[in-house]
Symmetry: C2
Subunit: 331 residues, 2 copies
């Protein structure tokens, strides 16, 4: 840590400028000097200070990604897709989860001050802050979130998938569908609910929403308890994400309710557990969301492009045993 460019310069018998050049541009110095410098650097175990370099270059060579949580598989996959792509673009990645953090806005602002650009996932910070960052000239890409002026966005398709899901549930015999989740908590969820309700309504089915606190398995368990003791069983539960659905399923099973005989269940995302549990769901390209965001952010940082771009990635309905009753339809 102690050895600086000056030490290397002294040992190699050259100026610090030459060291700087020799260690980066291969061909701005003689092969001979370059060899001397490289040698000296190796001898001293010299590692250039990124701090010094970054200040001189006035860039961080790092960008950040802000997400609500890493506990479910969904955000983890998005972050991973992002990290892999960012690494290829030679950018370091700073992560920040706002989950339950008191001063999320302040923390994000501080994060922004140490990066060249930011990816903001879902509803982690206010639109106001996003706009302030954008206004300050900071490149921002929004993921799984309603676009904001001046920032790029990357989202997964919701509307059409919700229609297909509605069609499938109705085909499987569902007349009453309960949507589980909180549309107010995320633009994704709101879109899913509204599209599902519209499509199911057009098919003559009835959709009502059961608002949850949170999107984890525990929230699903609470919904199960509620359904068993009070509100009764609908023909189908359409959940805002897989964890909710899996928790719900677990709760119902424990209460003696059989799926898909007594009721149907669907999720959203297609996480690993959904595959092993046999849960019908909508597959999102989670990694691709992150990777695309990295690409867009890079374009923004390098100034390749002027106008904002808003990507919408395709999704798939994956039908499994949780919505395929023996007879094909329900009585």
């Amino acid at each position: 840590m102690a050895t600086t460019i000056r030490d290397v310069a002294r040992r190699a018998g050259v100026s610090i400028a030459t060291v700087s050049r020799a260690l980066r541009d291969a061909d701005s110095v003689t092969v001979e000097t370059r060899a001397r410098v490289t040698r000296a650097a190796a001898d001293l175990d010299y590692v250039p200070s990124q701090l010094g370099r970054q200040l001189a270059e006035r860039r961080h060579a790092a960008n950040g990604i802000v997400f609500p949580d890493l506990s479910g598989p969904y955000y983890a996959e998005v972050v991973l897709g992002y990290e892999v792509a960012a690494a290829e673009l030679d950018h370091a990645v700073l992560i920040l989860s706002t989950h339950g953090r008191a001063d999320a806005e302040g923390t994000v602002a501080r994060l922004a001050a140490r990066t060249d650009g930011l990816v903001v996932v879902a509803r982690t910070v206010s639109d106001a802050l996003v706009q302030r960052l954008v206004g300050r000239g900071m490149p921002v890409v929004l993921v799984a979130r309603t676009p904001v002026d001046g920032a790029d966005s990357v989202n997964a398709e919701n509307t059409e998938a919700a229609s297909r899901l509605a069609q499938h549930l109705v085909d499987a015999g569902a007349q009453t569908i309960r949507f589980v989740g909180d549309p107010a908590a995320s633009s994704d969820v709101a879109e899913r609910y509204e599209s599902l309700a519209a499509a199911a309504g057009a098919l003559g089915a009835d959709v009502r929403v059961e608002v949850t606190t949170g999107f984890g398995e525990n929230a699903g368990l609470r919904v199960a308890a509620d359904a068993v003791t009070g509100s009764g069983l609908p023909d189908a539960f359409a959940c805002a994400n897989d964890e909710l659905a899996l928790g719900l399923w677990l709760g119902l099973r424990q209460a003696g309710v059989t799926v898909p005989d007594d009721t149907l269940i669907s999720g959203w995302d297609d996480v690993m557990a959904a595959r092993h549990a046999g849960l019908t769901t909508v597959r999102q390209p989670m990694r691709e969301l992150g990777a695309r965001a990295a690409l867009r952010l890079h374009e923004l940082i390098t100034g390749t492009r002027q106008e904002s771009v808003h990507d919408v990635l395709a999704t798939d309905l994956i039908v499994r045993s949780s919505t395929t009753p023996p007879g094909g339809t329900r009585p």
Copy 2:
């Protein structure tokens, strides 16, 4: 981005030193000047450059975590636990996944140059590099990896858990056990295999290892295909992690093999999918591993402690339907 401490100083009619002080230590300046400075800063939408600050303070106020991959739930949980704890300690978190990266060592070295300390998870980089970093005075904490001189380490208990698992499998009627995974790929896996083999051997059962390439579901599927077509079915498969086990189970099921009737399966980690699939496994405190690492790294960075410390966190055997045959024992 353009406004610097000098602009603020000019507008407030004070020196840059005063601005610097006013914006950090509340009580090193008059309330009056402080107000003027704060006002000027707000007017100009001034955000202190972290780069300038960091160079002057000669610290990054950031640390990094290196892990193989974020695709499975295991590392994601560790990273999350780490991030949450690090945030509380007011450190930014840089992440780096080495998965399939060509120059992992170089990338890690570069990461090290922009952080105050590093957490290295599993077998991501060579011991040689770890030792070089430690030798350079960089605080390093190893997670899920054999300790190295000069670095702290945090691991989950393997030996005792493996014994309990062996006992359970034998009690369930297993005489031939196949361990699935690659002991050479990770110290954790090696420990699990050896302890399991020893314990099962003592109980009169026979354990042999089936070495896999990778630890994902696909590797498990390959093992299933292999067992069905060639090597035959043991009484039980003990897998190095849950994903391997779930992939294996899926493959066997597709081939018409019934678990736990025809053979038993166990995993390791207790990820979400294991719970929903009914997989017997060993629960690791994944988040706690990350959180503890953050704490240890902080101690190292702040120099609270001289000697290295090596934590071993407790694990639990979780018995589920994949190893509980109807009769209680197998014929």
